[in-house]
Amino acid sequence: MISVSMKNVGKSFGTNTVLKDVTFETKTGEIFGMLGPSGAGKTTIINILTKQLTVDSGECYVSVGSDEIGLMLEHDGLFSKLSALDNLIVFEDIYGMSRKQTLEALERVGLSDAAKTKVDALSKGMRQRLVLARAVLHKPKVLFLDEPTSALDPLTARGIHTLIQELRDSGSTIFLTTHNMEEATALCDQVVLLHKGTIIEQGTPKEICERYNAVKTTMDLESVFVQLTGGGLE
């Protein structure tokens, strides 16, 4: 069953064409990775799918309504003067969740001890985890994660990876963008390589790596990307 899709989507900002003829499908219950360097158009795709932007051409589809979508975007959007728990309580009230579920979400990301700490005083990694707790609080069917582990230490990133896999296992569809090829290889069931607004390759990480003879001791999506674009990550 298709959860998220785009068909021939084009998008420009003035004279700057950001997306060209983008087509892909995400199946329910998989982790779908949108890979590419900064400026490739990944965030624009998430913004279109979450209805923050409209398309110039083509069609896009998300199988669920906004109340069943979880978001972790470029900006954390946290209320910096409120505590971690109070930030979640705002969304607990909006979604009509119980306090028990809120505390569980906080515990799931390892922030129970920081529940009463104001967001201003949280580290970057803790804020990131709090944003993830907010995104999964209402058990969304589709989760959009924009660079979920960027600028995080490996340990925190690993914790977030585990949580993402758990969510996939519980039936959620995860749509994530990243420029970290290693992360995509380890996490994603399907990936799309995006370069300058165009999809240059898609499939499972294994299929893609095999297609380009990039499986040595481990799969190496980064070398596939370099082969396809003639350069490294920007």
Binding site: T50, Q52, S66, D67, I69, L71, L73, H75, D76, G77, L78, F79, S80, K81, L82, D86, I89, V90, F91, D93, I94, Y95, G96, R134
Partner: protein
């Protein structure tokens, strides 16, 4: 309704737990109280006619500070809250979670209105208004508060960022907040400021403390509510053009 309650609770916590905002509701009545204490009221040894003249011309600290609170403090508070929620993209997450813009604005305004009621009542007590006078004063204050909330929200949406909100709000707030105080000493300025709600708030408060208003009180209230209506239209225009885009 659930969204409105959520925003109201969020804003209430954000107001009472944030000293930068909370101070705005405390500092003005506190200054009025302290300045009232410091005012010379003992005219012993001074001829009665001179003492009467001094008393009559003595600026009333409560009405001054109350006008500054309603006209200046609240505009900067409201514009700052809205602009910060837009700038930090918090509002984007609220709207994407299903909070409609009117629910957000009502929730935030509701908290500011309620907290301002207590500040206004504190001014009323410090000013020793009692009975009907207390409620007329509080009513005038809340009319001013309503005007400043609408104006502050408009500035917050217009600016879209905390820093530019301060830049926009400050001159407007200075004119509306300090103007009526200056007008107590300058008739020309009083005439210029006559159509503005903070000047009328000052007129009502001064009438209650000193008496002698040139126009009936309902006239002042009518001007204040006309202001609120005009500001409401201005808000609607700005909102229609810019929305609450984070």
């Amino acid at each position: 309704m659930r969204s409105l309650k959520a925003v109201f609770k969020k804003q209430f916590k954000g107001t009472v737990q944030n000293p930068e905002i909370l101070i705005q509701f405390i500092i003005f009545p506190l200054i009025a109280f302290l300045m009232n204490l410091m005012m010379v009221t003992d005219f012993e040894g001074i001829p009665q006619d001179i003492a009467d003249m001094l008393t009559a011309n003595m600026p009333n600290m409560v009405t001054m500070q109350a006008t500054i609170f309603a006209g200046m403090g609240l505009i900067t508070v409201m514009s700052g809250i809205v602009a910060e929620d837009i700038e930090k993209k918090s509002l984007r997450f609220l709207t994407m979670a299903g909070v409609k813009p009117p629910a957000y604005l009502l929730g935030v305004s509701g908290v500011i209105f309620v907290v301002s009621f207590f500040t206004s009542a504190a001014f009323g007590l410090i000013g020793e208004f009692s009975g009907l006078d207390f409620w007329i004063f509080t009513g005038a204050m809340m009319s001013g508060v309503a005007g400043s909330i609408v104006l502050g929200a408009t500035i917050g949406i217009l600016s879209g960022g905390h820093q530019s909100a301060s830049g926009l709000a400050l001159p407007v707030a200075l004119v509306l907040g300090f103007g009526p105080m200056m007008a107590q000493f300058n008739d020309t300025l009083a005439r210029i400021l006559h159509p503005f709600y903070t000047q009328q708030l000052n007129v009502v408060a001064n009438y209650l403390t000193m008496g002698g208003a040139d126009t009936p009180l309902w006239h002042a209230f009518a001007i204040m509510w006309a202001n609120v209506a005009v500001l409401g239209i201005l808000f609607a225009i700005v909102y229609a053009k810019k929305g609450l885009k984070g």
